[in-house]
């Protein structure tokens, strides 16, 4: 007995419409929002300073002149440092002193501060920066930036020393 073959009835091709238009509307709205709020990338940043009017908030002179001594004992490390930046007559940077030690360049200063910051672990690092009054602000800002980049907790600016 042979099975009777039933011819398959061809179905009409169904197309499911995908509504792209609402999605496109939403996408255009998002695009408009981001274009309107877009700001081009900038290299501008800021160095925050807290400059209280009271002199008592500044570290004492004796502690601030302590030199950076490599040590493994965290408790005896000084947390208040002083950086002097001396200028040449034309306003360029002549020399840097971290505590009582000469530092050859701003890059080396930043490197030393980073290492010192790592030694201090979670203790705060407060830095006083004392540039000469006639030093170019661009040079002074590089010193301040090095302190900021090294992770100083606070940066203070006492009165400038006379050149």
């Amino acid at each position: 007995m042979t099975a009777r073959r039933v011819p398959l009835r061809s179905r009409p091709v169904e197309t499911i419409p995908f509504p792209v238009t609402p999605m496109l509307d939403m996408a255009f709205q998002l695009l408009a929002f981001f274009i309107l709020t877009f700001q081009p990338p900038t290299r501008e940043t800021r160095i925050d300073l807290d400059l209280p009017a009271t002199a008592a908030a500044l570290p004492s002179g004796e502690a601030s002149e302590t030199s950076v001594v490599p040590s493994t004992d965290v408790d005896i490390l000084e947390t208040d440092l002083t950086i002097h930046a001396h200028s040449q007559p034309n306003g360029d940077l002549r020399s840097l002193r971290l505590g009582g030690v000469d530092v050859p360049s701003v890059a080396v200063l930043e490197d030393r501060l980073r290492k010192y910051r790592a030694l201090l672990e979670n203790r705060p690092l407060r830095i006083q920066v004392i540039p000469d009054a006639r030093l170019h602000y661009g040079e002074a800002a590089r010193v301040l930036g090095a302190c900021s980049a090294a992770g100083a907790t606070s940066i203070r600016l006492p009165e400038p020393s006379n050149p």
């Binding site: 496109l24 900038t42 300073l49 006639r134 980049a149």
Partner: protein, 155 residues
């Protein structure tokens, strides 16, 4: 005789998929850049900011802020007008007075203000003039300062 088509068969359906692809790519681009950096207001073309190896600031700027600039001569520049000496001190005291009045603070001049002063100093200005500007502002009652610099590019 040629057979006539109905008008409904001639309808053109634009293909929106490539358009949508491009739009979504643009959205992705803008979304990725939207927090990449933010310009701090108060830029002046005449002020050349110092370039420094500064870290990115940990917090956002507070809403209450005052933007000032110091040009290469060391003068305070606000709204295109340069002030120096006593005129600058008067301006700082006026600004402090306005803020005290808004906050209904006591008229005590030594009382600290929460306003953040954003200072755009020219890189060629002597540091002493920048410090003097900060000192004058401190005397008026401002204690929170931000120095605007350009980040140094590093390899």
């Amino acid at each position: 005789m040629p057979r006539r088509h109905s008008r409904a068969d001639d309808r053109l359906d634009p293909n929106l998929t490539p358009l949508l692809d491009v739009v979504l790519q643009l959205i992705t681009f803008f979304m990725m850049l939207v927090h990449f950096g933010s310009r701090i207001e108060g830029a002046e073309a005449s002020i050349r900011l110092p370039i420094a190896p500064a870290a990115l600031p940990s917090g956002d700027l507070v809403l209450e802020r005052l933007v000032v600039a110091v040009n290469a001569d060391g003068d305070l520049v606000v709204g295109g007008h340069a002030r120096s000496g006593a005129a600058a001190a008067t301006w700082w005291n006026e600004q402090a007075g306005i803020r005290r009045k808004e906050l209904k603070l006591a008229a005590a001049p030594g009382q600290e203000l929460a306003t953040q002063v954003i200072l755009r100093g020219d890189r060629d200005a002597p540091y002493g003039t920048i410090r003097q500007t900060l000192k004058t502002a401190q005397a008026a009652g401002f204690v929170h300062f931000s120095l605007v610099v350009e980040r140094e590019e590093r390899p």
